[in-house]
């Protein structure tokens, strides 16, 4: 059973470094500690890890420059006091998020011409950079243009500028260009910020071969003296663990010690995840013991990972024991914890036990999500508790939950096997309608189920 528990899948797709949210007046330094570890995200049934951007009040409805200028004039004429920097920045942000870069720059020029009291500062240019990720045509050239515009206005790019530029390039997939820009900026203007550096490493890990990432690290160390820190190592370990390359992970851990770092909770969690993903429960427990030895406090993610790993390698009993010990340490099991446990129970064929766990978790005020239901549906269909499965499916359907391909296939198979073909067709319709699966894969599993059923019948007749 190499299947990944649905509840865990969200962990893998969660983006590790959160984008800094920008307020127009003061773009904050991206001084958040990146969290490279299994997600802390509240499982809300969404598998996408993209942070939802706050919707700005849209002042400008049209991207046309003339309209924007007209609207701006009408704002000025109605207000008594001249606008301050903050208002101008918000106006620019609102316009730049829908307009092209050239129009936004012209609009900025126009504003500073009409109101001489408004002098753009660093943050104004940062708005141009940060909104450029909304434009599909944003490129290295457009980022360069903003930077040049900024320099001609007497502002030197600082580390926030570099960070924003890199992020906006990465968000449209131009990682190589971002690397190029960083090298250039670090030579001319500002040393490379560690957060920018880690963001780049993360992006490179996502889309490039491991050797490219290592080359980048070596190159940055020699060209501008940027050294990987503990977070960088965590990102790297996370990356190799995700591709099940545990040997490389161990090499990185020893390298990390050599560089004088001490692994923290995030590193341990990541290593543990690596073991869990290949189903090595004993080693995962080993990591947990090691953590306790060095005096690190395990957190909720540690326990969730551990319970996931133990459930996966068929050690549900031990997993349940950890449920108690985590409560002792003041961590409350969440939806991910329960779903992992249910997954383990379903693997053992104890779907009824999983079902009673659902009751227990609901009683404790923990809301199941679509992964929980999918796990249960899969388990129930597998242990031939079809009636319960149909009940659960009705519940999922009424709250518009998506079906996962594994639970869809097993459910359809169970339905067909007990001669409820019409219902299976109905599930097929729902899966396609709710866009859970593509019609191709939904149809293929329906067709092959019916085919194998027919074959089995014919064989039975022949005997």
């Amino acid at each position: 059973m190499g299947k990944l528990s649905p509840s865990f899948r969200s962990i893998l797709s969660t983006s590790v470094i959160h984008k800094p949210t920008l307020s127009p007046a003061a773009p904050p330094l991206s001084s958040k500690k990146p969290t490279p570890k299994p997600s802390r995200k509240t499982p809300s049934g969404q598998s996408s890890g993209h942070p939802v951007k706050p919707k700005l009040p849209t002042v400008f409805k049209s991207a046309s420059l003339a309209d924007a200028k007209k609207l701006y004039s009408s704002f000025i004429s109605t207000s008594k006091a001249p606008f301050n920097l903050r208002v101008h920045n918000s106006l620019l942000q609102s316009y730049a998020s829908i307009a092209t870069l050239n129009d936004s720059i012209s609009f900025l020029r126009h504003m500073s011409k009409v109101q001489p009291s408004f002098s753009p500062d660093q943050s104004t240019f940062h708005i141009l950079l940060s909104t450029s990720e909304n434009r599909p045509d944003s490129s290295l050239a457009s980022v360069r243009k903003i930077l040049n515009f900024m320099v001609t206005n007497g502002f030197n790019p600082d580390k926030v500028t570099a960070d924003l530029a890199v992020r906006s390039l990465c968000s449209v997939g131009l990682v190589d260009e971002a690397v190029e820009l960083v090298k250039e900026l670090s030579l001319k203007h500002t040393p490379l910020d560690i957060y920018t550096y880690n963001h780049l490493v993360k992006q490179l890990c996502k889309s490039r071969a491991l050797s490219t990432v290592y080359n980048f690290i070596v190159e940055m160390r020699s060209s501008c003296g940027a050294k990987p820190d503990l977070v960088t190592y965590t990102i790297l370990i996370d990356n190799v663990c995700n591709s099940n390359n545990l040997r490389e992970a161990m090499r990185l851990v020893s390298l990390l010690y050599k560089e004088g770092f001490k692994p923290d909770c995030f590193v341990y969690n990541t290593i543990m995840k690596g073991y869990c993903m290949v189903g090595r429960g004993a080693e995962a427990i080993g990591v947990y013991k090691k953590m306790k030895e060095v005096g690190l406090e395990p957190d909720l993610v540690t326990f969730n990972t551990l319970i996931f790993g133990l459930s996966k390698s068929g050690r549900v009993k031990e997993a349940i024991d950890f449920l108690d010990s985590m409560a002792e340490m003041g961590h409350f099991p969440d939806t991910v914890t329960y779903t992992s446990l249910m997954n383990g129970m379903c693997r053992e064929g104890n779907a009824l036990g999983a079902l009673s766990l659902l009751k227990e978790m609901e009683a404790k005020g923990c809301n199941p999500n679509s992964f929980t239901y999918n796990t249960l549906l899969h388990g129930l269909s597998k242990s031939r508790l079809l009636d319960r499965g149909i009940e659960l499916y009705g519940l999922m359907k009424s709250s518009d939950m998506k079906l996962e391909s594994a639970s869809y296939s097993t459910f359809v198979r169970a339905l067909c096997r007990s001669g409820r073909i019409a219902e299976a067709y109905e599930v097929f319709d729902y899966a396609v309608e709710s866009k859970s699966l593509t019609d191709v894969s939904a149809y293929l599993s329906l067709e092959s189920t019916l085919k194998s059923l027919k074959n089995a019948r014919e064989q039975a007749h022949a005997v």
């Binding site: 059973m1 190499g2 299947k3 391909s405 594994a406 296939s409 097993t410 198979r413 067909c416 001669g419 409820r420 073909i421 019409a422 219902e423 067709y425 019609d439 191709v440 894969s441 149809y443 293929l444 599993s445 329906l446 067709e447 092959s448 019916l450 085919k451 194998s452 059923l453 027919k454």
Partner: protein, 100 residues
Amino acid sequence: MTIRRMKMAMTDNPKKLANLIDLVNLPSTLREFVGQSQISRLGCFKCVWSYIKTNNLQDPTNKNVVVCDEKLKSILLGKPKVELAELPALIKLHFPKNPK
């Protein structure tokens, strides 16, 4: 595990996928039914299934059986009754493996 294997077979075998989603020139009987001159096997299946649903052709006592009307009979080998389970296989008959 069978599901997994099936998926593997699916992704490993682009020919099979092409069989399912490529547009095929239709024989005249089928052309009349779907109202198009070309359709894929998947499209055809969806078309027939939605025809069954909109015209309420499922046997009310046994939903697994379709009671064919004249139009449906013309494309499903003239059978008066068809099991839902054999629908994909029957439709496949219109889409021979090597049309050329």
